[in-house]
């Protein structure tokens, strides 16, 4: 590609905390591909599901502040987090569907001297890889043998209700990427079944009941690991796996990788630069032996 690809990058709050391995690996892989991620200046929390549950216009205005700042750059705004993706996209949809809400949001933004005209292209990082970079370029960069069986777990909000071109029920972008990297995609019918999202912090018992079948299904289909594209999904399946084992008397220990970590492994990027030591369920030495050597 002749010109360097540049994007405005919105990491989201989890990037600084539980989603850190995602953040580290996303940056490492993009650097490797010579893709520029320009972090949005002084970005604020998108508000996620919580703010919209409490305030209507205020939650949307807080999300819209980011879009107003991004607008002047003319670049696509990329986020790795599914909840940020949906929250920021929602502002645009409301802008189109509800002129009165649009006016109210802009009235609020004007209190800080800002205005959002509408039309920032908000996109999920997954689709930058599948649409812009493409399978050919990805497979051309593979340096390590990924003989891994992988269960692709998309979760909800990356494909619902807004999706770039994928199916809201049975998406395939991540499947394609895994195959292009040389991995084996296992049959994983629960790929978009909800992991419980933020309910894990609210009603753990119910939430674990939602997360458990996702692990079980991956193990039964013979997967060596699960791959996700959402920091909350990864947290629920990885950090809470020991709680699932405790409650259900199971003994699961399946690694849950971010798709950016998988790409990094296939590219032969050093594991330390992919944050793999931050995954709670360790990425198996057996799988590793088959994989990267350089």
């Amino acid at each position: 590609m002749a010109t360097k690809q540049s994007y405005i990058y919105y990491p989201g709050c989890s990037a600084e905390a539980t989603g850190k391995p995602y953040e580290i690996s996303a940056r490492a892989v993009c650097e490797h591909l010579d893709i520029e991620l320009k972090e949005l200046a002084d970005w604020n929390c998108c508000g996620a599901t919580a703010y919209l549950s409490v305030e209507d216009i205020a939650s949307m205005a807080v999300a819209a502040r980011n879009l107003a700042i991004a607008e002047s750059t003319g670049l696509d705004l990329i986020t790795p987090c599914s909840a940020c993706y949906i929250t920021l996209s929602k502002v645009d949809h409301y802008f189109e569907d509800y002129p009165d809400i649009r006016t109210k949001i802009n009235n609020a933004l004007s209190a800080a001297g800002l205005e959002y005209k509408g039309g920032v292209n908000v996109r999920h990082l997954l689709y930058v890889f599948s649409e812009d970079i493409g399978m050919e370029r990805l497979s051309g960069m593979v340096r390590a043998d990924l003989s891994l069986r992988v269960a692709p777990y998309y979760g909800c909000q990356v494909v619902r209700p807004f999706t770039e071109r994928d199916s809201p029920d049975v998406p395939f972008a991540m499947d394609e990427i895994i195959s292009a990297l040389g991995g084996d995609v296992v049959d994983y019918p629960l790929k978009t079944k909800c992991c419980s999202g933020a309910l894990i912090g609210i009603d753990e018992k119910t939430a674990l009941g939602l997360a458990k079948p996702l692990i079980e299904c991956a193990v039964r289909s013979g997967a060596d690991c699960i791959v996700t594209c959402c920091p909350l999904c990864q947290l629920n399946l990885d950090a809470y796996q020991y709680k699932i084992n405790k409650v259900y008397g199971t003994n699961y220990h399946i690694p849950v990788l971010f798709f950016t970590q998988l790409i990094g492994l296939a590219f032969g990027i050093d594991e330390g630069r992919l944050g793999l030591n931050m995954n709670i369920v360790p990425y198996r030495p057996a799988a590793r032996a088959k994989g990267a050597s350089g």
Binding site: E16, A50, A58, A61, V62, Y98, C194, A239
Partner: protein
């Protein structure tokens, strides 16, 4: 399936209209009770009323019973109902709207942990412009059930050991501007 009896005495004839005027609720009158939403919903089994039934109650004017139920608090925003509803009702957005009404009107129930969680989150974001997971969880547990602190100590340690729990919170620079936006926005609430 539950067998909850509806408790409300008088019908609220304006309730349907109230919901229909909220973003996403416009087409609720078109609900033909097919049950696609309930059949798809990952948390229907713990809800007092399934989403389908809740919409029947909205249309029939059972405002109190709807708001007193746990149904919308159990909505995880998975949007599967929204993309599948054959009448294009934005079900998830209606669930959001119900949460907001309930918090404003203080429908505090035995099981309103979700409300406490959301409010703790909002307090932090309105103060710093960023969320801070460790503080959020501690605040929430203190508000709802302090024994949770002990029950989640191992999880916290695991995350910390793996470098996934920051000690210092992050704040944006333009906090005053953000607060000005929020203040103005609240005066413009729907």
């Amino acid at each position: 399936m539950n067998t909850h009896k509806l408790k409300q005495k008088a019908i609220d004839k304006d309730f349907l209209d109230e919901i229909a005027h909220l973003p996403g609720g416009e087409r609720i009158i078109d609900c033909f009770q097919c049950g696609t939403c309930s059949g798809s919903c990952p948390t229907a089994h713990v809800m007092d009323h399934t989403p389908r039934r809740l919409f029947a109650m909205v249309k029939a004017g059972f405002r109190e019973d709807v708001l007193n139920s746990n149904t919308y608090w159990y909505c995880t925003s998975c949007y599967i109902c929204t993309v599948r509803c054959p009448r294009q009702i934005k079900i998830t957005d209606v669930m959001y709207a119900l949460k907001r009404i309930a918090l404003k009107e203080r429908y505090v129930r035995r099981k309103n942990a979700a409300g406490a969680f959301y409010s703790s989150f909002v307090d932090i974001v309105e103060r710093d412009g960023r969320s801070f997971e460790p503080e959020l969880m501690v605040r929430f547990m203190l508000k709802t059930d302090p024994t949770l602190l002990l029950k989640n100590a191992v999880l916290g340690l695991k995350l910390m050991k793996h470098g996934r729990l920051p000690i210092r919170r992050n704040r944006i620079k333009a906090r005053n501007e953000l607060r000005a936006i929020i203040r103005k926005a609240k005066s413009e609430s729907l």
